[in-house]
Subunit: 330 residues, 2 copies
């Protein structure tokens, strides 16, 4: 294992020290706990949005806390859920009189945690709503059990824009729901990653093998086999998405090409080109696209392709400015 | 070799197709050549700044073309210089009546290329000046032969801010020179990278070995040995820099922690924390810091630490806003 770190057991906390040291003007912690990560800028009367999940996916999750997106994030250990108490403490810190939306990925551990926090909040008369990202098409045919992956970026963007425009709690939830209904992702891995405290790769792949549909924690995908070309990967991934969410000719979409960690930007743009060419051949128009590392698995190689079908309302939300320590859109 | 690509020989051009497809609202090419990369926004009377170098370092070099930084970039093949003709064509496209600054890394091939372009421009009565980034302390004791690495970001930032403020050609050159005089970098690699057309790693390192001082193309460093902790790496790197550029107690610096490609953001922030703690112990104050991938070597693992000693003028330039497809600062 080659990692730039001190003791493996301090990996997440040392990382957080660095983040607070560098971005202390924009973020702070709640209840004296560095893992209760909150924006330093509270807007009275605004719906607050709280997320959370295991560490190891930067800039997901905490990187989207900031103006125009989220208000707080519970940080777990690497690939481990935060606690209900953490989410509750964050909620107490960021709620600003208009209720709180819990928006996170569809994983059993995280659901238990946010449900626990919601119960605690109820006793304090803080209103909460919950919605999970569940965009990973290959993880299940059943939308209710699909895992949440990079597509949550579009849910954050939509809900964040609506909250910033002072929408009420149900409107902010509806914005996230609308983005969710129109978002699908397909991902694939080329290499595994290593959990610092374990010190060994979380799966193995052959010298020239890729894993189509693999999850961001190494959950098994739908096939392992020889690595394909960017054009072939783009076609297969888009076909999978279009089968699940048919798009008529002339449809407009937002596109997110996401690197999983060690895939160079060069390759992400090669993939973006392949995807855009293929969508064009299907008569689908890309309204706006994002290319970069938005949801990683530490040093895993691979990428994901997220497509969100957009209308004027979604386009408006996606075009709103954002400013967080990890993501700025003007 | 596991890369998301089509034919290896099309690696750079397919990447550029993706970049133009995604960012066509902000950039364009000159002379019909995609490798002549220019901003789409020309400001009459502004000094233009042109850079260039081999591909494989995104967001370096082309990623800094945009408002508040650079105007054009010659793109070479992976780790290969662009041509003098390319730089000349870009210069013709972006020059706006106030002369052109050539600002690039200190590599023999690139120097020949920019000198060739400068000669061509002279015949067209376009005034040019040249300056090279040469910040890699471990590459040589002689500042004139030091390689240019991530620290060029601060030169771009200073010169870009001065040009944006409509400084004249000598003032823009002086801004870059001032940043250069105060900037030092130390880098280290944990794994090699693979040039697509070669298909093999550009060097080898043992299972738990790191290479201190290795260059961004795999140029040999000053020692290879067992990987050290983040705190140890921070101390050794800062000591190397401080020996070359002594800083009194109370000095202020800008800090750039740069991931080389496959090093997760988590680890970059762990390193940032170690560096900031160590500088604090030396009485050096960090005015502002940047953490992320600013100058990579494709999928190489490792990082670099850049320190720039700042005064009020440099701080002002570094705080100016920037908006390029790859880097936005508000």
């Amino acid at each position: 294992m080659k990692k730039i770190m001190n003791q493996a057991e301090n990996y997440t906390d040392d990382m957080l020290k660095g983040i607070y040291a560098v971005h202390g003007d924009m973020v702070k912690c709640a209840a004296g706990d560095p893992r209760c990560y909150c924006t330093a800028k509270k807007v009275p009367g605004k719906v607050a949005i709280v997320t959370g999940g295991g560490n190891g996916h930067l800039p997901l999750f905490l990187g989207y806390v900031g103006d125009g997106m989220l208000d707080g994030c519970g940080v777990g250990g690497v690939f481990q859920s935060p606690s209900g108490k953490q989410i509750y403490n964050i909620t107490k810190e960021v709620e600003a009189g208009a209720g709180v939306l819990y928006l996170y990925g569809n994983y059993t551990g995280d659901i238990m945690v946010f449900d626990d926090a919601a119960e605690r909040c109820e006793m304090d008369d803080i209103e909460t709503r919950s919605i999970v990202g569940a965009d990973d098409v290959n993880s299940s045919g059943d939308e209710n059990v699909r895992r949440g992956v990079a597509g949550i970026f579009f849910l954050y963007k939509a809900a964040g824009a609506k909250a910033r425009a002072m929408g009420d709690l149900d409107e902010v939830l509806a914005a996230a729901q609308k983005a969710k209904d129109n978002t699908r992702t397909v991902g694939f891995a080329l290499t595994p990653c290593i959990i610092p405290e374990k010190g060994v790769a979380n799966f193995t792949l052959g010298e020239n093998e890729m894993a189509m549909g693999m999850g961001i924690h190494g959950e098994p995908g739908i096939w392992n086999g020889p690595i394909k070309t960017a054009d072939e990967i783009a076609k297969e991934s888009c076909d999978t998405i279009l089968k699940d969410m048919p798009l008529e000719e002339g449809s407009e979409v937002a596109l997110l090409i996401n690197g999983l960690g060690s895939t160079p930007l060069d390759e992400q743009y090669i993939l973006a080109n392949s995807v855009m060419e293929y969508l064009k051949s299907k008569g689908v128009m890309v309204y706006r696209s994002w290319v970069g590392e938005y949801a990683t698995s530490m040093e895993m190689a691979g990428a994901s392709i997220t497509i969100c079908r957009v209308d004027e309302e979604l386009k408006g939300w996606f075009d709103e400015p954002v400013h967080t320590p990890f993501y700025t859109q003007v």
